[in-house]
Subunit: 408 residues, 2 copies
């Protein structure tokens, strides 16, 4: 009986999720315990529909695995499909395990964030009642950096590098005119401020911080304090850059930019926080204010990758394959920072129930005393993650990325 | 008597304007006809106020000239100061030429777009009445690519490369979910569609265009045609990317996103065109639509430079110095594409009156027959411009840019 593996991707795209796919593929290709390597298209939703592709004819072609490693977004497609409990929808579970059986799947890898880990948890619980012998492995990915049991999430570091680079360039752009001005840059992050905090990495050659003020969802947002903070910065500086999370909220818990719409996971649909804050500042201070939304590029700008991120994301994929073959199931690959001054992480695996549906917030010590910027501790945590550049392949002056549409 | 030169920058920042400054500086530093090299801060507005710095102590320091070459935004600061006619404000002219006299300025270089060339034109006309012997040289720069007498403007190519890269990444980002969706990306350009047209450079590995539809100000915008165009694309594709200029307007000349505010040059303050178009599509077609504003990054993303642009911008600076020393005045440095299959440009100088206050639009032959994308001719024009990548220096994982604030 041959043992095959199935890999799928879920949740929002990142610039490093395909490096992890490449890592799993590469390790599986070399491992005699694995025969066929399948990809499930559009996550668990596609698997339910039987959308399975044989990856070897695609990724086995010379050069494609290397291209995949630095291709942004989810090569296999994604979904935001919330698996209901087996009591509510046994049919989904039956279909999934039928597909596993049809393709002789022994190892299943689901690359995703906390919502995707809920899928692994539910499949694990299903197997406890209905043993099928499939080793279920959660593989972390999210730009949000909000997963438990990891030092940081794969994909976060490239997003942080893009954000810090962008904030630096915006600060240079806004400094040219001889007038008072403020830029309010809105960065992704519903509940956790990790991405916004990384704006704090941007410094000029003299070590001056280029994000003058940073506001994250962990700290209740206070408009009076905001104006005080701005006035303080204005004492020494005419052009100011403020970074805010899309998810900043008032002390009563209400979002700056509240909306009634809910997505399928029950999160509010956000956006527009920067516009709200910019309008407020304009009204009170009467200076020129520009709102800039750092858009989807923060999760897909593979032209600005962190080498550390890509290498780690690939290694996490390799570790996932090894963990599956060793017989573990119902776990996610986790990481811990090595002690000492030289940066490095140690990979292992933790029970999925410790991770699914939980969120890791920015700890207090990463925020400065005035609660409006990053602390030295925070910088110490972030700095090694964005180290190293990746020279991605270019053709005709543009990056070359691999698209599965060219193979289907 | 020593002959000194003065360089200033004006208008919106670009990623290549400092490469031109570096080119002028480098050529001046090597030329025995030039003694001191001064920088005027914040353009002509700063010069009127006497804000002059000696550049040799700054740029003569080891490594700084190289850093300057790939630093985005205007190193010397900028202004949007419209010089009135001498009849209206003789005082400005007196102050400017007093400063020239005070610093023994023989060569004046003004790096900017069509509005800045108006300044050179006015100073030239003033000198015709009041000869002062200052050689006045306009040096082109603008991401908008709308200057006459040049094959393309310095700064445009890096912006085009950034836009095409970004559109490619957005297309990959939006393709992941198994659902119909549309992204409307808004790109800068009030009256000329050059930047938006460069979205047409984005292709996948199989040569498929990733910007499915492109709308520019040169073609009157028609919402019924838009819906027809989208339906046509939907016949073969579920996820669609549409690139629009901020300045697209209806056949009656009204902007999609009209505003009453005017900036000092009389241009309407635009923005929000993508939101308008996205809301319209959502209303008519009922699909998921996301508006993305490609923000200020398109003019300052030096982490994504065109090597062709940087090399040419530097060479144009060198040519400017040479032109001034040869005795020309009241001209702008111009360029022409060499005939034949191998790309290259020939630099010369043209009378400033041919350029100031004029705008070059996208010609019809660069647009396809359906008037909703780039033509093969257009691609042939754009492709060589974005060629070549620049490995800019990094420190701690982030680009290193030179700021004049660290020297003042």
């Amino acid at each position: 009986m041959e043992y095959n593996c199935l890999i799928a991707q879920s949740g929002g795209p990142t610039s490093a999720i395909n490096a992890t796919l490449a890592g799993i593929y590469s390790a599986a290709d070399k491992n005699s315990a694995v025969n066929k390597i399948y990809g499930g298209l559009n996550g668990i939703e596609g698997i339910i529909k039987g959308k399975i592709v044989d990856l070897k004819p695609i990724l086995g072609e010379y050069g494609n695995l290397g291209l995949l490693k630095t291709t942004p977004s989810s090569f296999l497609g994604s979904c935001r499909y919330k698996l209901k409990s087996c009591a509510e929808n046994a049919d989904d579970y039956k279909k999934i395990f039928d597909v596993f059986k049809q393709y002789n799947i022994k190892y299943f890898f689901y690359i995703g964030g906390n919502d995707s880990m809920d899928t692994i948890l539910k499949l694990k619980e299903y197997q406890e009642e209905h043993p099928q012998g499939v080793n279920l492995i959660g593989v972390p990915k999210t730009i949000d950096n909000d997963l438990m049991c990891v030092d940081h999430t794969p994909g976060f570091a490239s997003a942080a590098k893009y954000i810090a680079t962008t904030i630096k360039e915006i600060a240079f752009d806004t400094a040219v005119y001889d007038m008072d001005s403020i830029v309010v840059a809105e960065i992704m992050g519903r509940n956790a401020g990790w991405l916004t905090l990384s704006a704090g990495l941007a410094e000029d050659c003299a070590g001056n911080k280029l994000a003058d003020l940073i506001y994250i969802p962990e700290i209740p947002f206070d408009v009076e304090k905001l104006i005080e903070d701005i006035k303080k910065v204005q004492e020494t500086k005419r052009q100011i850059v403020i970074a805010i999370s899309e998810g900043i909220r008032f002390s009563d818990g209400k979002l700056i930019s509240e909306s009634d719409k809910k997505d399928v996971f029950g999160h509010g649909q956000l956006g527009g926080a920067a516009n709200h804050v910019a309008e407020y500042i304009k009204g009170v201070l009467g200076v020129k204010v520009r709102a800039v939304e750092i858009n989807v590029l923060q999760r897909c700008a593979a032209h600005c990758l962190s080498l550390t991120d890509i290498n780690e994301s690939f290694a996490i994929g390799e570790k996932a394959l090894q963990t599956a073959v060793e017989g573990l199931s119902g776990v996610m690959i986790t990481s811990e920072r090595k002690p000492g001054d030289v940066y490095g992480i140690e990979l292992s695996a933790s029970d999925i129930s410790l991770i699914a549906n939980k969120e890791k917030k920015v700890p207090e010590e990463y925020i400065n005393e005035s609660k409006n910027n990053i602390s030295e501790e925070g910088l110490k945590y972030l700095r090694p993650l964005v180290m190293g550049e990746v020279n991605i392949p270019h053709k005709n002056g543009l990056p070359v990325y691999l698209s599965i549409n060219n193979f289907l």
